[in-house]
Amino acid sequence: MTTTPEQKKEPSIGADASKPFVLKPFVEIINISKNFDNFVAVSGINLQIAEGEIFALLGSSGCGKSTLLRMLAGLETPTTGEIIIDGQDMASIPPFKRPINMMFQSYALFPHMTVEKNVAFGLKQDRVPKKQIKERVMEILKLVEMEAYAKRKSHQLSGGQMQRVALARILVKRPKLLLLDEPMAALDKKLRAQMQIELVDILEDVGVTCIMVTHDQEEAMTMASRIAVMDKGSIIQTGPPSVVYEFPNSRFTAEFIGSVNLFHGKIVEDAADHAIIRCEEIENDVYIDHGVTGTADMLVSVAIRPEKMIVTHDKPDEKYNWTQGIVEDIVYLGSFSTYYVKLTNGKRAIATQANLNRTIHERPTWEQKVYLSWLPVSGVMLTK
């Protein structure tokens, strides 16, 4: 994860998640809701997106992310709320006149047209002169490295090639905003990882603002500069991938993005620079030295990521932040291993350890007694 684009882009939008905008936002979604009959698909969403940003709406299926995207494209009409793009209210603009283009999950390439005709379709609708269409189509096909396939029909293309054509078809219109609906869903796993990087490179070359929808957290974290985690029609948390991962604001985000160990307990000591939480599932109290806002006796959850758990054979010396258990299961994944540890009171905890050296005899094995510990910065206290 060290070379993901997220890190190079972070400065442009600022590391401070609470105040992301210095300039006026390019896309403004104001209190948007959408009801289907009696079902609320999207409820009261507010979002601001800056120019040139790649923004991901992340959530499981049925969370309303696709509906939100379709409202932006104009394919669904919002029940309430406003969408403003580059200062222009979109309410009265039909989809075929919006400066927005969408890449469909299935890519929706026209099967009876060649690659070239597919890409030219949008320009023809805008009555661009023929000569110019040809130039722009060739130029964009070159950008996505598909110029050799201009005369092919969509059924003669591989999944990755279809994706590039779909991208070319919308980029050629030079839209103000690009919408990507599950851009990788139609590709197989191996191709996915490669296309994620390629797609971001192309999008950054063009410099277009982009909103994507995905249910795959890895995809969102690889591609997007900011993520909005959605559930049941609402946004739970918005922020750069690292913030959403390291500082989840709720149990939902913590559990949805990556895996997490959650312990329930209550605050026993609440000081200015730290808090101590007593959890029944852990033998010792949890000491957290950051981002703590709470009052004594408040019921909270403590989230600890598996990779922040340290597995040892020896009993730690600290007073806080450790517990013990028996190794129940080990999943060896090459670069790291995942240990499922049964704690003394029966709860299962997960810890991942990088396999730094080749010898395995020093690592914990099945049915062994181990100690799990973590640093005061590792735990996150969740009140929601």
Binding site: A73, G74, L75, P94, P95, F96, K97, R98, I100, N101, M102, F104, Q105, S106, A108, F110, P111, H112, F121, G122, Q125, D126, R169, I170, K173
Partner: protein, 298 residues
């Protein structure tokens, strides 16, 4: 013993293929060879009323091919104009069916699944009830003192009845009425499979709804259009019942001519020649139909 016998018996698979194939060869394909043969014979007052093509006597095989029937057909204006007229009427009725059937098939394909089933049943239902009765029903509607004229005169739109029955207009109405389901069903089967996101993609790329319809829906439904058109064009060329019941003496159609040659003139050889030329005429549309059928099946 059984093992030996087994060797000469066809394999199960071959047998399964053979049963329907032999039936169809015997009762459908061989008859066409016989029609071809008889088209080259002479009409005779005998039972059956035609001459034999070959005789074997005195170690000589005499084959006598009578080209007269074909020459007669190709020189007589009646037959030529009957062929031309049949093709013209079949073409026009196909176009009418397409113009009426396409919007209907499109609307059904876009209805919700439950409604769709009911609507489809409504299309299928008339075509499963008697063809003859349905054509007959139009006589009462279209005749001079029929319901349609009574209705228009009652409204005061006309004061003299329109003469529709026993004209080509009545035949067109009858054909479109009877064959419309054959256009709607294949079109529906095609249209219901269309991926709606293709249309959304077209809107998204800046095409207005009607333009997207022209650029996406129509070309993609082409196999359905061809199938429906062929299902109408081919049988209508040889249609007999509709021109006989609704048409007048001016309605010259080849199916009717064949019927008259056979039943009224008892000229089996000429009737056979009429059939053979009609088959040649239909060879291209039939080939087109089969081509698209096998493509659709894949």
């Amino acid at each position: 013993m059984i093992g030996k016998l087994k060797k000469y018996l066809p394999e199960g698979r071959t047998l399964v293929i053979a049963i329907p194939l032999v039936w169809m060869l015997l009762f459908f394909l061989i008859p066409f060879a016989i029609v071809l043969k008889i088209s080259f014979s002479e009409m005779m007052t005998a039972i059956p009323p035609f001459s034999t093509l070959w005789k074997y006597a005195d170690e000589m095989l005499n084959v006598k091919l009578n080209m007269g029937n074909y020459l007669f057909l190709l020189t007589d204006d009646l037959y030529i104009s009957a062929y031309i007229n049949s093709v013209k009427m079949a073409t026009l009725s196909t176009v009418f069916c397409l113009l009426i059937g396409y919007p209907m098939a499109y609307s059904i394909a876009n209805a919700s699944p439950t409604v769709r089933n009911i609507l489809l049943l409504g299309i299928v239902l008339p075509s499963w009830t008697s063809f003859l009765i349905r054509i007959y029903a139009w006589i009462g509607i279209l005749k001079n003192n029929g319901l349609f004229n009574n209705f228009l005169m009652g409204l005061g739109v006309i004061d003299q009845p329109l003469i529709i029955l026993n004209t080509n207009i009545a035949v067109y109405i009858g054909i479109v009425y009877a064959y419309l389901p054959f256009m709607i069903l294949p079109l529906y089967t095609n249209l219901v499979k269309h991926d709606h996101t293709l249309l959304e993609a077209a809107y998204d790329l800046g095409a207005r709804p009607w333009k997207s319809f022209l650029a996406i829906t129509i070309p993609l439904s082409f196999p359905g259009i061809v199938a429906g058109s062929m299902l109408i064009f081919i049988p209508v060329v040889g249609e007999f019942v509709i021109p006989e019941l609704l048409g007048g003496s001016e309605t010259l159609m080849i199916g009717r001519v064949l019927w008259q040659e056979f039943f009224n003139n008892r000229d089996w050889p000429v009737a056979s020649a009429v059939a053979i030329i009609m088959l040649l005429l239909l060879a291209i549309p039939v080939a087109v139909f089969h081509h698209y059928q096998s493509k659709e099946a894949l």
